[in-house]
Symmetry: C2
Subunit: 196 residues, 2 copies
């Protein structure tokens, strides 16, 4: 059972995603979220929010993408959205990580995983646009629930936020409208700066 | 948008699953796993291991079940498999939790969630049998990767393990055979006791 052995090795390897820490705080404010929890949260959002996708989506495909989209961070680490230097080298670091981690799987499944990851990164299909929208709005919801904690910690202003959200509306008009209201509220109460 | 508001309230509420701690240690042995990470891990296993299901399964249905199967523990807490007293009151505590948490969602989605959860608990469909198999084997894989840490902490013997695994084989002969070998290896090296 060489095939099963490789699959089990992969299942054990990806346990490391539980130790990749993001910049977002949990809603109770007690610690920062890790990538595995974040991926679970996105998958659950895909189940209950996919009626708001701009185009009809294959929910299974959306869920698969959000479950695997951060696996490369096991080697490449989490790069904070507003870390300009880190974002300059991110693509190369993540490509190298994908080659090591995905190739633990048997060939056909490694190939499927590369395709899924590339689809998510390319944001061309309805499914990947919606998956990327979920990935962007989930931290906004958590930040809002913690009185803008991560925004305040990093002294973020609305222009920076909007520049990082140029694709967010592509997956869902309804969710984008909701999130814009959240931004507005957090500008009003000072959690997000109006200008630098 | 009363509907969207309820859905977003649910998305925020379930963030609490990230604080429900299980008895299983992560593979690096540094801390115990929480329910959100565990659910993510099962969903990923469903993606890459469903070829081993005893009967053909709808992978989306399996994934949905594993994503939501522990939500009731937000109120009811995690009940360790070998906690006999806790297991006596588990069903009633979880039913009450389901009523509070699931009903945050709009009526149609609350109903879908009750059905999914009940399907998982009943273990009658091919999907729920396979989902339950994944739920049982994932902690075994993590225990094996940490030299049987949770088994040793709780002084567990193989008879106890087998009595809790009476349904594990129902979802997959292949995965059950693999896990039996893992048990055997851990009896040999003393991580699991041969008898009480």
């Amino acid at each position: 059972m060489e095939r099963l052995k490789k699959q089990m090795e992969f299942i054990i390897e990806v346990d490391k995603l539980k130790d990749i820490i993001r910049q977002t705080n949990l809603t109770n404010g007690e610690r920062k979220e890790n990538d595995a929890e974040h991926s679970w949260h996105l998958a659950l959002m895909a189940v209950f929010l996919s009626e708001y996708a701009k185009e009809p989506v294959d929910v299974l495909q959306v869920i698969k993408m959000v479950l695997i989209h951060d696996l490369v961070e096991i080697d490449a680490g989490d790069t904070y959205l507003y870390d300009e230097a880190g974002n300059g080298t991110k693509a190369a670091r993540e490509q190298k990580a994908a080659e090591r981690i995905f190739n633990i799987l048997p060939g056909d499944q490694a190939e499927e995983l590369f395709q899924l990851w590339q689809e998510f990164e390319d944001r061309k299909t309805p499914e990947s646009k919606f998956a990327n929208t979920l990935d962007r709005i989930q931290p906004v919801l958590l930040n809002d629930a913690t009185e803008g904690r991560a925004w305040r910690e990093h002294d973020v202003c609305i222009d920076q936020i909007m520049s990082k959200n140029e694709y967010t509306s592509q997956g869902s008009d309804v969710l984008w409208a909701y999130i814009q209201e959240v931004f507005e509220k957090n500008i009003e109460n000072g959690n997000i700066k109006r200008s630098l």
